[in-house]
């Protein structure tokens, strides 16, 4: 019997929503780690019962939690994220250089093949890897050596928020950082190159076509079409057909091309989803209507998906890590809002229902499809 497990990180704890493959009736467990910010939870593709959770607090710092049974029992593991060597400095808001300081983990990305190997994207932006199930962490410093002195924090902090492990090339990793841009490694994280050609950030950067410094909000890739990447930038929805070597805009007829998450349909590599937000000054949906936009052509041509979503007086936001898909035959799409709702569609976005309505503000949503 297939099933779905939705991992929801919120401002005040973690919640796990489960359903069978019909996705009609949902059971909610939580809050786990009540009162703490859960920036991200993610499960191992190699062992779905192995979960990692980022638990953090402005008072008490970073905790890493691990579960071996799908989220029933958790144990704290290692939380020492020490930058390799002398941390150095990055660009600060006032144009001066500022020391790198660890703040929190924004994302865990478990290895595709080994449950004990997991990558952590952190603020201040860097990539760490554990090969012992999260007990110890080592930085992959080559990333910060890629013009790190020119990276600068966005309004949400200088965070490494996206990690994509390429299933077709096990040494290839993509990451994205706000506000530094997108980067690619071909040697399992040892060395990196910026992949930001074609991004235009006029009004945001002194050099709108700078090699680094772009405010990339999220990246997505379909596992069967790994040379194609999709990006929600601060403004602009972008597409690359050459693994990030170049980008072109596919915002098309979106009502706004500002937004945070972007996702790809599980079975249709050119069907993508975004949630347009009015602007960088007003972080809520245009016209008070919560609309997911779907493109079945890999961008440019978009349709609004509204059935079951509030179409008046809705002023929530959907954060960059708060949308995910399942891999059931009829692809499920899930997203969480800063108003505490988690919406799900079991028909590729045609219709939606709230499977949780009153959680704390949702920071992240991940989905596990259980066989």
């Amino acid at each position: 019997m297939s099933g779905v497990r939705v991992l929801v990180g919120t401002r005040k704890g973690a919640f796990i929503l489960t359903s069978d493959g019909k996705r009609k009736n949902w059971k909610i467990s939580g809050p786990h780690f009540a009162g703490w910010e859960i920036y991200h939870m993610n499960g191992s593709p190699a062992d779905p019962n192995r979960l990692y959770a980022s638990q953090s607090s402005g008072w008490f710092g970073q905790i890493v939690q691990r579960s071996n049974d799908g989220g029933e029992i958790w144990e704290p593991v290692g939380n020492n994220f020490a930058y390799e060597g002398v941390p150095g400095t990055h660009l600060w808001y006032d144009g001066t250089q500022h020391p790198w300081e660890f703040k929190r983990v924004w994302r865990f990305e478990p290895s595709l093949t080994d449950p004990d190997t997991v990558y952590a994207g952190v603020e201040d932006a860097a990539l760490f890897r554990s090969t012992d199930g999260g007990h110890t962490w080592a930085e992959l410093p080559g990333l910060r050596e890629t013009k790190g002195h020119l990276w600068q924090p966005g309004a949400g902090g200088m965070c490494l928020h996206t990690i994509i492990l390429d299933p077709s090339s096990h040494n290839r990793i993509f990451v994205a950082i706000s506000a530094a841009g997108a980067f690619r490694s071909e040697d399992n994280g040892e060395t990196w190159q910026p992949i930001n050609k074609g991004l235009r950030s006029s009004g945001e950067l002194p050099d709108p076509e700078a090699e680094v410094g772009h405010c990339v909000h999220n990246l997505a890739m379909h596992p069967s079409l790994t040379n194609v990447l999709f990006m929600q930038k601060h403004w602009d929805v972008m597409r690359s057909n050459d693994s990030g070597d170049s980008w072109h805009e596919v915002s098309g007829n979106l009502p706004s091309d500002f937004g945070f998450p972007i996702s790809v349909h599980a079975h249709e590599p050119n069907t993508i989803y975004v949630v347009p937000i009015k602007s960088d000054s007003e972080h809520f949906p245009p016209d008070g209507k919560l609309r997911v936009y779907r493109s079945r052509s890999g961008g440019d041509e978009w349709e609004a998906l509204t059935k079951g979503l509030p179409q008046s007086d809705c002023y929530v936001n959907v954060l960059r890590s708060a949308m995910a898909v399942d891999t059931l035959d009829s692809c499920g799409i899930y997203f969480g809002t800063t108003g505490g709702q988690v919406y799900a569609s079991s028909d590729s976005g045609d219709s939606w229902v709230a499977i949780a309505r009153d959680l704390p503000a949702v920071l992240s949503v991940e989905v596990q499809t259980l066989k």
């Binding site: 009162g35 008072w59 008490f60 710092g61 905790i63 020492n80």
Partner: protein
């Protein structure tokens, strides 16, 4: 025995009650209390003081005998009443956030 009181979230993290008892061979100082506490509850490493710099986290405060010790050096000697357990050493999450 030295009595150490923990804030709510650290009690949950360490899976203990509000107050724990630790023993220190030498006279108690802030640093030696924190060392002993972290050795007994390794999960607390990084939650009270930064793991890299060792500095007190900004919203953590230390109180004992009606006095705020937060700005004192880690090697400052604490009163005898802390050493003999008649007064607790309190680790407090500061009121912050509005």
């Amino acid at each position: 025995m030295i009595r150490v009181q923990l804030p709510y979230h650290l009690q949950n993290l360490a899976r203990t009650g509000r107050e724990v008892e630790i023993s220190i061979e030498a006279e108690p100082r802030i640093g030696s209390i924190l060392d002993a506490l972290e050795n007994r509850y390794p999960v607390l490493r990084g939650t009270i003081r930064d793991q890299i710099t060792g500095e007190r986290r900004p919203f953590i405060r230390f109180f004992a005998c009606g006095r705020d010790w937060s700005l004192d050096a880690y090697d400052v000697l604490l009163p005898e009443s802390v050493a003999d357990g008649s007064e607790p050493f309190r680790i407090v999450g500061a009121m912050a956030g509005g």
